[in-house]
Symmetry: C2
Subunit: 82 residues, 2 copies
């Protein structure tokens, strides 16, 4: 399993409830692709959301995000962490 950071753009004005709802939609189906979404951070003013996961591949992350209704704009493996 590798960690991935993905980025969603265009989420201008996202609220805490909407972020929670989007995260729950991922969590509800993540096991079907062996993914676990760990954390997400949002900036309503720029519309950027960062999302940290553990997954077998970037494609697996994207499949869950797409099915949950919020395709990622970028997905990067982040094998190094401090």
């Amino acid at each position: 399993m590798t960690q991935f950071m993905d980025v969603h753009r265009g989420m201008l004005g996202i609220t805490a409830d909407q972020l929670q709802e989007a995260h729950q939609a991922d969590l509800a189906i993540e096991k079907e692709e062996g993914v676990h979404f760990k954390q997400a951070w949002a900036d309503p003013d720029s519309g950027i959301v960062y999302c940290l996961s553990e997954a077998p591949s970037a494609d697996a992350v994207q499949r869950i995000h797409e099915r949950a209704g919020h395709k990622a704009d970028e997905i990067h493996p982040v094998p190094l962490t401090v």
Copy 2:
């Protein structure tokens, strides 16, 4: 205090030791600006590093990163988190 996510590009080939060293350079002086660097994630293949902090402002984050020798390319407040 607000959380910030900042992004560094061009760190192609960064190693675990280099990430640790860069993070320690931030930690060594972060208190002078009231910043705390919490975590960082790196992708050696794309050269992207994501860095999560708590700080009084984006400018405070940047001042520490600049003095530590690695200016951020983007800094976004991330007031929402799950």
